[in-house]
Amino acid sequence: MQWETVIGLEVHTQLTTKSKIFSGASTAFGAEPNSQACQVDIALPGVLPVLNKGAVERAIKFGLAVGAKLNRVNVFARKNYFYPDLPKGYQISQFELPIVEGGSLTIQVGDQEKVVRLTRAHLEEDAGKSLHEDFHGMTGIDLNRAGTPLLEIVSEPDMCSAAEAVAYAKALHSLVTWIGTCDGNMQEGSFRCDANVSVRRPGEPLGTRREIKNLNSFRFLEQAINYEVRWQIEQIEDGHKIQQATVLFDPDSGETRMMRTKEDAHDYRYFPDPDLLPVKLDEDWIEAIRAGLPELPQARQLRYQAEFGLSAYDAAALTGTRALSDYFEAVAAALAKADPKLAANWVMGELSAALNKAELDIAGSPIPAAKLATLLGRIQDGTLSGKLARQVFEVMWTEGGEVDAIIEARGLKQMSDSGEVERIIDEVLAANPKSVEEFRSGKDKAFNALVGQVMKATRGKANPAQVNDLLKAKLAG
């Protein structure tokens, strides 16, 4: 039996403001419990929320980056529910008139491109944290996170596999960190995904969905969706109906389990918050933010292909994060002889491999872009072969130091003195009469063996092209 999977994502991105969305308390992570929860955050009677301009600005920035409609007038609403980490008894969110509507994100799945439509993105405040460890049968509440600004980004149900959902989440993560609206730190909960998942037989109307809450890694997102899809298909094939429900993913068991069904789902009784006036976005403000937007990943990918002649795959890999992309551009720009492909190969190859191995991101690279460019310059001017350059790279990575000093100190310079190379070739020819004989009787393989011997005798420092030429000339003569 054929099944189709339908997935939509809701992603809570924590905005990078210094202070909270409705109060002047700090949003810094990791502070002493409740030391950053002021009278507004703990909802003392009589306090009033005052909206943070920085939060609105980031929402506008995001809306512009995804080509969405910005609601010039948008409204905050109260979402009512009772939970101890929500001191007011309601969350201030946006309901009918969110700040951002529509827009889209292009994702890359394998070598396929796909456009995922966005429904909306709205501003809201985060709740506090409940600590369920035993405090004599009580629950501990830390309200430092209460009031932290979030932009909840809701997609259309345009994804049809866990792989697509992950590709979307990664593209979104890359974008919000690229434009600086969110720091993207998933361990600290700055980027949290909820996945709405349903299955159906091809051509049939949408199936009943279940919502998997609070997935804070791409791996969990993928595992949770795959498990949920299998579970739903089994249920239906066993003759059961799917009930609309909210579920949690347990990383230890790899299973999803029910949190609540629709029957006891919340009735949030949204209504416009009388404490907050509608928010108006001025055209001048929007245009100023638009002018300040950086070149976006999608635009850079196209430019890398057009200007640098890189493949779509390479262009996508190099724009995975803005820091990586900026690094690549700095290397490419610093090369004396323009060769973006050489820069791309080294950034994606040697450098990325070393970063992965050391579990570092580009910001933590011990080799700055200028230094890598110097190294590549030594390949370009013939001082180093690719192999020798990798040795210099290795030294720079582990011990540091300047490119030329390392080449000098370790004697890694490629031999350019053709007299010296010729002398070694003569020695090799004299020592390997059998190979010479074989080559002369038409065995091309023997030539490669001789090149290998010369390279070995020079400890890899001869220029392979030069060795080829000289050897050919000698054997012909």
Partner: protein, 109 residues
Amino acid sequence: MITYKPLSYKVYIPMSLTLADVQRIAHLARIRVSEGEAEQTRNQLNGIFDLIAEMQAVDTAGIAPMAHARDVFQRLRADEVTETDRRAAYQAVAPQTEAGLYLVPQVIE
């Protein structure tokens, strides 16, 4: 004037509430009401709904709804940290605290 389409706020308001409606609203608001109180509340709420019905009878065709009673816009605050740590003062009046946390009855979901 703010123009926006009211969608879900525009709920169907029944001419009169049943006791079950009152109990449901009370449950959502986490207010315990006795049967006698429910009866009294129902009458009061129905009185309010009569008023609303009167207002709803007014022809508002072509008039854009307002999101707020005052036709002005929100003023924004600069993104600056202006609050200091006053946890000790706030926790002095809290029923129970420990290790800097506010303690509440356990919530099992």
